[in-house]
């Protein structure tokens, strides 16, 4: 009876692949237990086994001491296991209360009793410190609050074992702090939590124990207080990982990208970029720090030709690329790792090979007189797949079937391989594990060292500080400060990003 969840020696096979091989996961009551592994290590499969979506080939599952033979997702619910999904399962047009009671609506005289339900929701929300407005529509509330609605959904259904699937991936730093408070509150009220993540910092901060899986195998379970980020990372990846980005001193040369007095309107016709000036030189990485929504997306869209520029100019070396089409901008020597890899980076239903030539399919040798040449296309794809270690069964597999990290590697392979003068990397490591992050950072630095200009946009301050040679802070559509990463701190950047003035942080 010691463990609330006891999964022993789980093995789950799919045709041709062993997704889970001899994994043991034991969660004590009242603890926050991390489940750590790279993208594609088998975390989701293991949780799906727990939920009864997959039947394991081997192994036993005990929940609160009772053996479970489960092949029905409803059993997990009745056993008090609830999942807080990474991609929220909410109906936008419904209110918070309606979403929470969905599928378990209290009724009075044949009608849904929203009033009582809202009161119940309010009571739950007070009990666990999950601040929500029961009557707000989900489409109107922040991402952080949507996540709290997801948590309330599981609590409303009586869950006392909560699984959080990469909960911080979508949150701002502030919201992450709040979530950590919430998780602590939940365990203090007797709940148990499994936290699926690959962010070591969060594990160190909030978890009691941590189970690591690597490529489908259980590596082991450790007490967090006896471990450190380095040892966890080594367990996860199977080798030592460099957290400190190793790079030489940058040697900036001539200007590659020059932006002058740029004004760009957003979709509501309000200036999102408002008089911005920026230069990126050959051989340097300029990081743009800023809170999401300060014009970063619009700036990138303007540079790449996806959004109309109202005033100002952009030059790539000596060429004026202001308001050129995306194709002409690309042809002028720009490559772009887009922020949203599913929306902009890949045609998910195309094969990996077809995706590798997304900007070059019309050029030789990939086509001739409008006829595609498949052997050069797939030769190229095979080469990039092996050079960039994109893990895919073959080049003919649809991009959709790859894990996030490998999709991102495919995009980076494609963009970097075009040997551009100027590379934009927007949130290049979002949602990726430490191994992939290390790889991507090293590729960006490699480009810099080859004398390319790199513009890095990221909401992760760690990444900005570690990778950039110069940091430009963007606030309300302008660059408000340019700082040296070696001479700044997260606190100073945070203040600048919030519109504060330089130096005030020291004065306070």
């Amino acid at each position: 009876m010691e463990y609330v969840i006891d999964m022993r020696n789980i093995r789950k096979e799919f045709p041709g692949i062993v997704a889970n091989d001899n994994i043991t996961l034991q969660v004590k009551k009242g603890e926050i237990h991390a489940l750590l592994g790279e993208n594609g290590a088998g975390k989701s499969t293991l949780m799906n086994v727990l939920f009864g979506l997959y039947e394991p080939e081997q192994g036993e599952i005990y929940v609160k001491g009772n053996k479970v033979v489960n092949n029905d997702p409803n059993i997990a619910n009745s056993l008090g296991i609830g999942m807080v999904h990474q991609h929220f399962m909410l109906v936008d047009k419904f209110t918070v209360t309606e979403n929470i009671i969905l599928g378990k609506e209290p009724t009075k005289g044949g009608k849904v009793d929203l009033h009582t339900a809202a009161k119940e929701v309010q009571a739950l929300s007070d009990q666990y410190g999950l601040r929500v407005d029961p009557y707000a529509k989900v489409e109107d509330i922040s991402v952080g609050m949507q996540q709290r609605v997801e948590i309330l959904k599981t609590l409303y259904r009586g869950a006392d074992i909560l699984i959080f699937d990469e909960p911080t991936a979508v949150l701002t730093p502030q919201e992450i702090l709040e979530l950590i408070q919430i998780m602590r509150k939940l365990v203090s009220e007797g709940k148990s939590i499994i936290l699926i993540t690959h962010k070591l910092k969060e594990i160190m901060e909030v978890c009691d124990r941590c189970t690591v899986i690597r490529r489908g195998r259980g590596v082991g379970t450790v007490d967090v207080k006896d471990s450190n980020p380095d040892s966890l990372a080594a367990m996860m990846v199977g080798r030592e990982v460099n957290f400190t980005v190793i790079k030489g001193i940058s040697e900036p040369k001539e200007s590659v990208l020059t932006i002058k007095d740029l004004i760009v309107l957003d979709s509501r016709k309000v200036p999102a970029v408002n008089g911005l000036n920026l230069t990126v030189k050959a051989g340097e990485i300029v990081g743009i720090a800023g809170v999401d929504g300060n014009g970063q997306s619009e700036l990138l869209e303007a540079i790449t030709g996806l959004r109309k520029i109202n005033e100002g100019s952009i030059h790539l070396r000596d060429k004026d690329i202001t308001n050129l089409t995306p194709r002409s901008v690309t042809a002028s020597g720009l490559a772009h790792i887009p922020q949203d890899r599913h929306k902009h980076g890949l045609v998910l239903d195309f094969s990996v090979g077809e995706n590798m030539v997304l900007q070059t399919y019309y050029q030789k040798p990939f086509s001739k007189n409008g006829i595609l040449k498949f052997s050069p296309i797939f030769e190229k794809a095979e080469k990039l797949i092996s050079e960039y270690d994109v893990r895919t069964p073959d080049a003919f597999t649809p991009a959709r079937a790859l894990s996030g990290g490998n999709q991102q590697k495919a995009i980076i392979a494609r963009e970097v391989d075009r040997d551009p003068d100027f590379l934009i990397a927007a949130q290049p490591t979002r949602g990726l594990d430490v191994g992939a992050i290390e790889f991507i950072h090293s590729k960006l630095i490699e480009q810099r060292d080859k004398g390319k200009a790199v513009l890095l946009v990221s909401f992760e301050l760690d990444e900005i500080i570690n990778v950039s040679d110069r940091i430009a802070v963007m606030y309300e559509g302008k660059i408000v400060a340019v700082v040296d990463p070696k001479e700044t701190t997260e606190q100073e950047l945070g203040l600048l990003m919030a519109g504060g003035k330089r130096g005030t942080v020291h004065a306070e």
Binding site: A19, N48, Y54, T330, V347, E354, Q359, S367, A401
Partner: protein, 350 residues
């Protein structure tokens, strides 16, 4: 995995055909018709002798082309409900060239077919432009365009091309696809050379989509407009182009009727239905060129065979309509099953 998918793709329509026939048989039984006799008659009505084979093939030609039109648009993410209208304008254009132009057959036939293709392409491009420019959904506009096509072609025939019998003159012999040779080997069926045009069109459709940069762009835009735009592909241009090519196939389907089967165009009181059948043919054929040809064969066969079923077994042709509907129903259902299976295996992504 890929092999399994391919097998499944083939299995789904086959099982659907079987289930459609089975349940159709039960319905016949319930309504007091002999199903086994009916199906024997149906089968004989499709491949029983060279005459019905000729008729089946003749029926296939426009169906292949209208199926290709729907499938092509669908592959690029568009739903062309306007095949019917594009077919009508293509029909009229082909007949107009066939009636008014004087040229040797080697020029006249291609010219008439080209006219049909251009007319269909222009008719299809209009909803394409409206979609690309003003984001008007193509389903709405293509349906509207069908009515405009129906009444405009009727009015044009009435005003400029009217011959006795609410129809146009016959096309000149030099523009006709009719073939005494094909007729003679099929006991004087109405079989004409259109089937060759249709099969060539199927090859062209496959080649365009899968072997050219144009097809690459069209498919990319169909799957993901954002990524296409990001990659420098002109999304608006491709939407218009896709609708135009789809319309061209539909227009050529019209020329099959105008230059082949009928040799003229009548004033149509209602839609021909061939354009709408194209949607079902494309669905049956899973939007692939070869699938469309097979789907059209099934459709054309059932329609021709139904006539025999009525005359021999006394089963009304409407019941074949029911069978066809059942087959489509099961294909549609199994795609849902298919889709669900895919979803589950994607959920287990490793």
């Amino acid at each position: 995995m890929q092999n399994k998918n391919k097998k499944l793709k083939l299995l789904v329509p086959l099982v659907s055909v079987f289930l459609g026939l089975l349940i159709g048989g039960i319905i016949m039984l319930l309504s007091g018709y002999p199903p086994i006799e009916a199906y024997i008659a149906l089968f004989q009505g499709i491949v029983g002798d060279s005459y019905v084979i000729g008729e089946t093939i003749r029926q296939m030609s426009p169906l292949i082309l209208s199926g290709l039109a729907v499938a092509f648009a669908f592959r690029t993410g568009l739903f062309n409900i306007g095949v019917e209208g594009q077919l009508l304008v293509g029909w009229l254009a082909a007949v107009y060239v066939g009636v008014t132009v004087d040229a040797p057959a080697v020029l006249h036939i291609p010219l008439a077919i080209l006219a049909a293709a251009v007319a269909g392409a222009l008719w299809g491009a209009i909803p394409g432009i409206l979609k690309a420019r003003f984001k008007v959904h193509e389903v709405i506009t293509t349906i509207m365009m069908n009515y405009i096509a129906l009444y405009s072609t009727n009015e044009i025939i009435r005003s400029f091309l009217l011959a006795p019998g609410e129809r146009t003159e016959n096309v000149k012999e030099s523009a006709s696809l009719a073939s005494p040779f094909l007729q003679s080997i099929t006991q004087y069926s109405t079989l004409h050379y259109g089937i060759i045009v249709a099969l060539v069109a199927a090859v062209i459709m496959w080649f365009l989509l899968w072997r050219t940069t144009m097809g690459y762009e069209l498919r990319a835009v169909g799957f993901n407009q954002h990524a296409s735009q990001y990659a420098g592909i002109n999304v608006s241009k491709n939407i218009i182009l896709s609708m135009a090519i789809s319309g061209a196939f539909a227009g050529i389907a019209g020329s099959m009727e105008g230059l082949g089967t009928y040799q003229y165009m009548t004033i149509n009181a209602a839609f021909t239905g061939v354009g709408f059948d194209g949607i079902a043919v494309a669905l049956l054929g899973a939007n692939s060129a070869i699938g469309v040809v097979l789907g059209a064969a099934l459709f054309g066969g059932l329609k021709i065979g139904a006539l025999n079923m009525q005359s021999i077994a006394g089963v009304p042709t409407e019941l074949v309509g029911v069978v066809i509907a059942l087959i489509i129903f099961f294909v549609a259902c199994s795609y849902i099953v298919h889709w669900l299976m895919n979803r589950v295996s994607k959920g287990g992504k490793i």
